[in-house]
């Protein structure tokens, strides 16, 4: 029996259409739109002005605090505007618009560094570099990576977990990256182990990516300190708490952090970005994006410059198909539906999913038949039907007592409900109000 997490979970159709497709590097777009809030925490502060010339990799917005991140220019070119544009959240956000310099050849270089194994930097320098080079969690959460590495004195770390689960249906960005950059990722893992002073790392990969499991077993055959854990395919195994439960059978306490059980989790994409930053001085200016959907002519994986408009990617896979009803930034379970394809790719964009009528439409909402399925599948051990009910009735205090705030918004409950009840919609709403109530009390 393969390992998996302790409670709940679902197994939606995997639909990994692009798992056999090499990651293709796209040329730099003519114009990039770089938002200053691409990570969780305080937005970065713009330090360039209109008409400034910028180099590739130059800092254009400075970290706004500890939980924040630098932003670098993904291209060489000229700042044409500081503008408000709609990002994937659906709100207008401040953004730096850069016109790519067509003559500048760094924009067209395919950057493939030779593998570098020796790690020269000291732990503190590694953490500083990760912070300076704008690395954030690339699995989708976009939490600034240096924050996770700043382990408080009183916490003892004993294990680094690498998240290669990619449990969202359709997405294959991490899978391809693992296959194509396996050796680099192993070096990245060692960099993180050095920074964290831990001597154990485990890579968690779901067994539907058997080739990646085999590859990493081979690559780490001589590394006593790095193990590979093949995991049963189950959503939401990529959630930090679920992954720790699956691999180490430790439960992060309610309202606690992975640190509380001696663990730090990093996504494979992040580990690769860290490798490039530490070994090759490359800041986070591009990432792998899966562009997929059943009706697309040529669903693909791409290396994409941050700030590239999504419409460029859709052109690249053969254009928007007839009858498209939803454009999703991210995977189908946790991604955000967007209205407009001018939205740029940001550090957190792991995929673009195009869906048609059949998949996009929600069924008619019926009465709760009290089947308990939502309770069965909730990985946090919550009672989604009850939380929805309490949110609907405005009983937020009761909802808080029922642990509404521990919901990880994985959507498993809404996925299974046979009466199509919008459970997570109401739970999110309840969480937001609860948060507001709590902050207004302080």
């Amino acid at each position: 029996m393969l390992k998996t997490f302790s409670k709940g979970g679902i197994h939606p159709p995997e639909n990994k259409l692009t798992s056999a497709k090499d990651i293709k590097r796209l040329p730099a777009p003519k114009v990039v739109y770089v938002p200053i809030a691409q990570h969780i925490g305080i937005p970065a502060e713009i330090i360039v002005d209109r008409k400034d010339k910028v180099e590739i990799g130059q800092v254009i917005a400075k970290s706004g605090g500890f939980v924040s991140s630098n932003i670098h220019s993904p291209v060489a070119g000229t700042v044409t505007k500081l503008d408000m544009i709609i990002d994937s959240s659906g709100y207008k956000k401040q953004c730096i618009v850069i016109r790519t310099d067509a003559k500048n050849e760094t924009n067209f270089q395919e950057i493939d560094y030779p593998l570098k194994k020796e790690i020269d930097l000291e732990p503190a320098e590694i953490v500083k570099r990760i912070s300076d080079f704008g690395i954030v969690g690339l699995g989708g959460a976009t939490f600034p990576s240096h924050v996770k590495l700043n382990v408080k004195e009183d916490k003892k770390m004993d294990c680094l977990i690498i998240n290669g689960v990619e449990c969202e249906p359709y997405l294959t960005a991490d899978h391809r990256l693992m296959l194509e950059k396996g050796e680099e990722i192993v070096v990245g893992i060692k960099i993180l182990m050095k920074a964290l002073h831990v001597n154990k790392a485990i890579i968690g990969i779901e067994d539907n990516k058997h080739d990646a499991v085999e590859l990493f077993k081979r690559l780490t055959a001589n590394e006593k300190q790095i193990q590979v854990a093949a995991l049963q395919v189950k959503y939401p195994q990529g959630g930090e708490k679920q992954l720790i439960s699956a691999i180490l059978d430790r439960e992060v306490p309610k309202n606690g952090l992975p640190m509380d059980v001696g663990v730090v989790v990093n996504n494979v994409g992040t580990v690769f970005a860290i490798y490039e930053a530490i070994q090759h001085n490359k800041p986070l200016i591009e990432r792998v994006v899966t562009v997929t959907g059943k009706k697309l002519k040529n669903p693909s994986n791409f290396w994409v410059k941050i700030g590239t408009p999504i419409k460029d990617l859709i052109e690249e896979v053969g254009g928007m198909p007839e009858g498209t009803r939803k454009i999703i930034n991210g995977g189908p379970m946790m991604g955000k539906a967007i209205k407009n394809t001018d939205v740029p790719v940001t550090k957190g964009t792991s995929g673009i999913l195009i869906v048609d009528e059949d998949e996009a439409c929600r069924g008619e909402v019926k009465n709760c038949i009290r089947c308990g399925e939502c309770v069965n599948v909730c990985p946090m051990g919550l009672e989604p039907h009850l939380l929805m009910n309490l949110s609907e009735k405005g009983m937020y205090e009761k909802a808080a007592q029922e642990d509404i705030m521990t919901c990880i918004e994985c959507g498993s409950c809404s996925y299974v409900c046979p009466s199509n009840r919008p459970l997570l919609d109401y739970i999110r709403f309840g969480k937001n109000i609860t948060k507001q109530l709590a902050s207004s009390k302080n």
């Binding site: 004993d158 439960e251 309610k254 009803r325 991604g335 539906a337 009465n367 909730c378 051990g381 009466s419």
Partner: protein, 336 residues
Amino acid sequence: MDSPQIVISASPHLHSDRTSKKIMYDVVIALVPAFLVSLYVFGFNALITTSIAIVSCLLFEFLIQKYLMKSEVTITDGSALLTGILLAFNVPAGLPIWMIIVGSLAAIGIAKLSFGGLGFNVFNPALVGRVFLLVCFPVQMTLWPLAVVNNTSIADAVSGATTLGIIKEGLQFGQTMGELSSQIPSNMNMLLGITGGSLGEMSAIALLLGGLYLMIRKVISWHIPITILLTMAVMTGVFWTIDPEHYANPIIHLLSGGAILGAFYMATDMVTSPMTKKGMVIFAIGIGLITVIIRFYGAYPEGISFAILIMNAFVPLINSYFKPRRFGSKIKAKIM
């Protein structure tokens, strides 16, 4: 691009293809084998009783929703259909037609719609219908047509008694199990359904087959039915071991008196059973115990209908007491 075709909604953007309608129809499918057996055993009567129950349940739901509640009519969701079938399965084949209609009104009108419709009812509607009839018309409700194979005419129906009825009466008149054994059907006949009883409750084999189907389709889990049957087996087993002359053996108890129909199809009704597996086990133990107590000491020989209704009333309490364990509430030894 900004097209009006594009919809925005919050995640998740996927939904499983399971719907409440499919669940209801799965239960209907599961009941087909048992229905076929009762057609074979009771002939035309089984068909008439079942049809009348289904039509009147659907009709009452339609009329009440449309004209009294002025709400959406939900007769296509499969739940009223299922209530009709289950009600028919719980009454003697050939019950006077007007009584079936009264039972349907009690099931749909009182037990389901007056509580607010599907999902809000506390008690299993079909059982409320049955118990209503049992209390109002005790004579007709215990007039069991004798199982005559290939009986095709209503007029041929002869009244007999159920296995548990024979035992209960016999024991009250001072007979022992040994003396009664000639009057009760063989285990094999009970298994197949060649015995007296409600329309759909007799054939253990057919009901188990449907129950297996429901488990495979994940409509029900083992927790409720198996726990009920186990509880009953253990309790009747203890009494039988102590005094086999005055207590029927566990096999007779499990194969008769609607135990299997109740355990697999009535107690598992999602709306009126607990949400969590822990809760389900508690609920099921309760049903098993109460059923046996009623069979031994109560006025009714069968008991499981009452037991389920009594435990239905405890479901809200069970749900609030037996909550799922929250993730993160168990603190393990951390650093290795």
